[in-house]
Amino acid sequence: MITIPYLTALTTYFSYGLLFAFGQLRDFFRKIFDWWSHNSLQGYAPICLGLEDFYIRRLYLRIQDCFNRPICSSPDAWFDVVERVSNDYNKTLKRTTRVDRCLNLGSYNYLGFAAADEYCTPRVIESLKKFSASTCSTRVDGGTTTLHTELEECVANFVGKPAAVVFGMGYATNSAILPVLIGKGGLIISDSLNHNSIVNGARGSGATIRVFQHNTPSHLEKVLREQIAEGQPRTHRPWKKIFVVVEGIYSMEGELCQLPEIVSICKKYKAYVYLDEAHSIGAVGKSGRGVCDLLGVDTADVDIMMGTFTKSFGSCGGYIAGSKELIEFLKHSCPAHLYATSISPPAAQQIISSIKVILGEDGSSRGAQKLARIRENSNFFRSELQKMGFEVLGDNDSPVMPIMLYNPAKIPAFSRECLKRNVAVVTVAFPATPLLLARARICISAAHTREDLIKALEVISRVGDMVGVKYFPAEPKKQQLEGEGIKTD
């Protein structure tokens, strides 16, 4: 739960109000101008009606240099950010030849597999030579190579399920799997802050969707009881099946899922658990096996385990792990398995190799070190940020830590000032978060050294003072204040 200070809420609303008013004013003059010049639509309806793209035109474009910053190296602990300039008030940005070496606090490179790795890269290049970059075919036709079967075994073994199936894209995994497993007459109970891919998958399925309060098992139970008692809307027939969809680590909150409670509730009410471990697999847990490993949940209690390879493994694609029958069924009927090009062989090899490193099967202890490092780094960084007086969301052990900014003007200020000091942070605004709750998000990597983190903390602290985002007083009084904050939730 985020408790936004009263004054900040007021100023944030005021800022957006002002932006909206000026946007409207500019639209008004634009309309007059367009009226003078001839109408170019020629009978077609406009691509965007009314206010559909108002946010993009009048708010986003003004600060678009803070997003989509191109880089020209691997997204490792330090990377090269390409400078961009605009000659038309930020409407278009052009790349220059200047490159800044920046500390990377933005990429999901949790275990540091993004860069060339002594164990993985040679194997990846070897598989490129053997299998080429693509199969140009779907898994079910001619796109299954020995590498794919090996990958599926490897993933199933890693996450602790009998079988797994892999796809070439994490987003498509969610949005193509849900419609296969559940349809009309089914109920999906989804966490209110679930990722867009789950939302799209749920919508695509045709099942009824209910939302429970973010990470609140008691509310989940309430919704479950209500829904089971009521049945389907209008007909009141009993639900065919109920899915509870949660994420392991919420990428915009940095919070760990309250999985043990949620699993026991689902067990009690016979609902199926669908766990999306996009950010947690590989990154947390004693052996890197995700939230189940960290929170001590038996993987047998989670019916469908989904995850992606984009983050910790430094590759691409996603997986579904579950019972043998589930995977057989998915392989028979999932559109992403039947119609989409299979995962690129070098990317598959990267996953296999990185899992081997994590499990120590490469004959070294690098994997264990990486896991220890990311935990240490995350907890150190989080506690330091909190000591400085930032409002940091999320739980311990989670490598994702959002710093609340709130005011829209603070988004570009924070991002630009950090970049000026060679620290690249991600700022997140409206489409990905609620309008009021803009934030900067820091993703810690095992590749960061202690010096990197100290430098980052110095810069963030200075910028934080400048921009005014230290909403809590620094160290001594902080503990007490936080206690109050929790009470007023």
Binding site: P70, S107, Y108, T121, H148, H195, P238, K241, T310
Partner: protein, 553 residues
């Protein structure tokens, strides 16, 4: 508003009456003469139009009078008499009336007034609702206990347990399965670029420089310079102003469509489109109208119906969605006719060039070049790069407006990790190779023609695909009656081909969520990498295998 006595002299009469009333009040102060003044006495002196109004005044004055009475009894007596007098007056007197809006109202006014009061009273009461009795905790517990969910998945039948052949080599025109070299017709590697030296080289370089994954969505440091270069390269090759990369071919369509089409918009779409488009349509929540597969007459009549006499339609966004080469039938959409219709009815066109990009047209620029239509006429072009370009991902290209809009509105772009940089770099190289070697397309076209010729006298199966389509689609001449039966039969042919003839072909399998109703068939993806003898062998083997399997049926 009630207008009492609208007569011209009404005010004069009223004043006279008030004087009279004052006199009456004076008189009532003398107790002895009290009873001599009754309402009738007063009224008798008045013109009858004013009676009801006056009566109220009299009533008030009488109550005042009662207050000044000495005994309760006499007060009661006065009131009783007063009421009875007024009752008779209101009901009996022929003189009592008021003028409301110029309509004279007689004695029933009182009844109506009472009715009005009753109505108002009833209206003020809450409407009747059956008493709500929420389920008790125990009842909910029982319901929860009783509820039995369906199993997570339906029971697995034997035919679901299909394991595809596993390749032990790259999926080039010749692949190795179970240690045996086979001719591969399942890979949409149309130009034979899979494993091309230049692509391999650029991939290796990119892998060494950038690593494998991009570790982030495009918005958050997942934009790598090769992505921007690749977008520019595609736009330059096709002659459009900009393009946008997606990280997966399948998600290109189902992200692009909902970015443009919203609730209430009209989409006219071919019934044979692949699942990616179907899912996009579903997610857009627009009004969807299907036209018969590749039938321009059906399209025209639907466009006519959708726009004719429908003024609202003109304000809605209207789209036609077609595939250049249909994955589900191998037919080619007649783009020139579609453009004519689109311009006539003012629809925008979204064209999926997944199977035509790099294949159709003299230089591989796709269906627009094949039909000699300037690419600006097609509003939105999408394509998967997992086919002719021998890499992965997809792109969408069009005007700068169309592309910029997607950069913040397209969910598959915004919320997904970006394309691994080595695949983007492979795409750039693939386009370079394609532009530098137009003979690849010539070879591919020759191969398609050869295979078509070779299969022309095939017994039991017919070719339904277009003669220039790189997908040669074979359908059963005589269907078994069910899609499942057909598929099983075709599967048997494919199995036989692989086992006995080392020809690897695939059937067009359908997902349970796919709504496409077109008949299934065997799909052969022709590549420029196939040799003459491969094709000859394939058509020979197909003939024999088909004859054998159909005979044994």
């Amino acid at each position: 508003m009630i207008n009492f006595s609208v007569n011209s002299n009404c005010w004069k009469k009223y004043r006279r009456f008030t004087l009279l009333l004052a006199a009456a009040r004076l008189e009532t102060k003398a107790p002895a003469r009290r009873r001599e003044i009754s309402p009738q006495d007063v009224l008798r002196t008045l013109p009858y139009e004013e009676i009801p109004f006056i009566s109220i005044l009299v009533e008030v004055s009488c109550v005042l009078q009662v207050n000044s009475m000495d005994t309760m009894f006499s007060a009661f007596e006065t009131v009783a008499k007063f009421v009875s007098d007024w009752g008779t007056l209101a009901f009996d007197t022929p003189y009592a009336r008021a003028v409301v809006f110029g309509v004279p109202i007689r004695g029933h006014l009182l009844v109506e007034g009472l009715l009005l009061v009753v109505i108002l009273f009833l209206l003020s009461q809450k409407s009747y609702k059956p008493p709500k009795r929420p389920l008790t905790k125990k009842e909910v517990d029982e319901l929860c206990d009783e509820w039995v969910p369906e199993p997570l998945i339906p029971s697995i039948t034997e035919d679901m347990k299909y394991e595809p052949p596993v390749l032990e080599s790259a999926a080039g025109p010749h692949a190795v399965i179970n240690g045996k070299e086979v001719v591969n017709f399942t890979s949409a590697n149309y130009l034979g670029l899979l494993g091309h030296d230049k692509l391999q080289e650029s991939c290796t370089k990119a892998l060494e420089k950038y690593g494998v994954g991009s570790c982030g969505p495009r918005g958050f440091y997942g934009t790598i310079d090769v992505h921007l270069d690749c977008e520019a390269r595609i736009a330059k090759f096709l002659g459009t102003s900009d393009s946008i990369l997606y990280s997966y071919g399948l998600s290109t369509m189902f992200s692009t469509i909902p970015a443009f089409c919203k609730k209430g918009d009209v989409i006219v779409v071919d019934e044979g489109v692949h699942w990616g488009i179907q899912n996009g349509l579903h997610l857009s929540r627009s009004t969807i109208i299907y036209f018969k597969h590749n039938d321009m007459k059906s399209l025209e009549s639907i466009l006519e119906n959708a726009t004719h006499d429908n003024k609202r339609a003109k304000k809605l966004r209207r789209y036609i969605i077609v595939e250049a080469v249909y994955q589900n039938s191998g037919q080619i959409a007649p783009l020139d006719e579609i453009i004519k219709l689109k311009e006539k009815y003012r629809f925008r066109v979204i064209l999926d060039e997944s199977n035509s990009f790099g294949v159709l047209g003299s230089s591989g620029r796709g269906l627009t070049e094949h039909c000699k239509v300037p690419i600006e006429k097609v509003d939105i072009v999408t394509a998967a790069m997992g086919h002719a370009l021998a890499t992965e991902g997809g792109f969408c290209t069009g005007s700068a407006r169309v592309i910029d809009h997607q950069r913040l509105s397209s969910s598959g772009y915004v919320f997904s990790a970006s394309l691994p940089p080595y695949l983007a770099s492979a795409a750039i190289t693939a386009i370079d190779v394609l532009e530098g070697n137009p003979d690849l397309i010539t070879k591919l076209k020759a191969n398609i023609a050869t295979l078509h010729k070779g299969l022309s006298d095939l017994q039991g199966l017919e070719i339904v695909s277009h003669p220039e389509s790189p997908i040669v689609f074979l359908r059963l001449k005589r269907s078994t009656g069910s899609m499942k039966g057909d598929l099983q039969l075709l599967e048997d042919i494919a199995d036989h081909l692989l086992k006995e003839h080392s020809i690897f072909v695939a059937t067009s399998k359908r997902s349970t969520v796919d709504k496409c109703k077109l008949p299934t068939g065997i799909r052969l993806f022709v590549s420029a990498g196939h040799t003459e003898s491969d094709l000859a062998k394939a058509s020979e083997s197909l003939k024999r295998a088909t004859a054998l399997v159909l005979a044994g049926q």
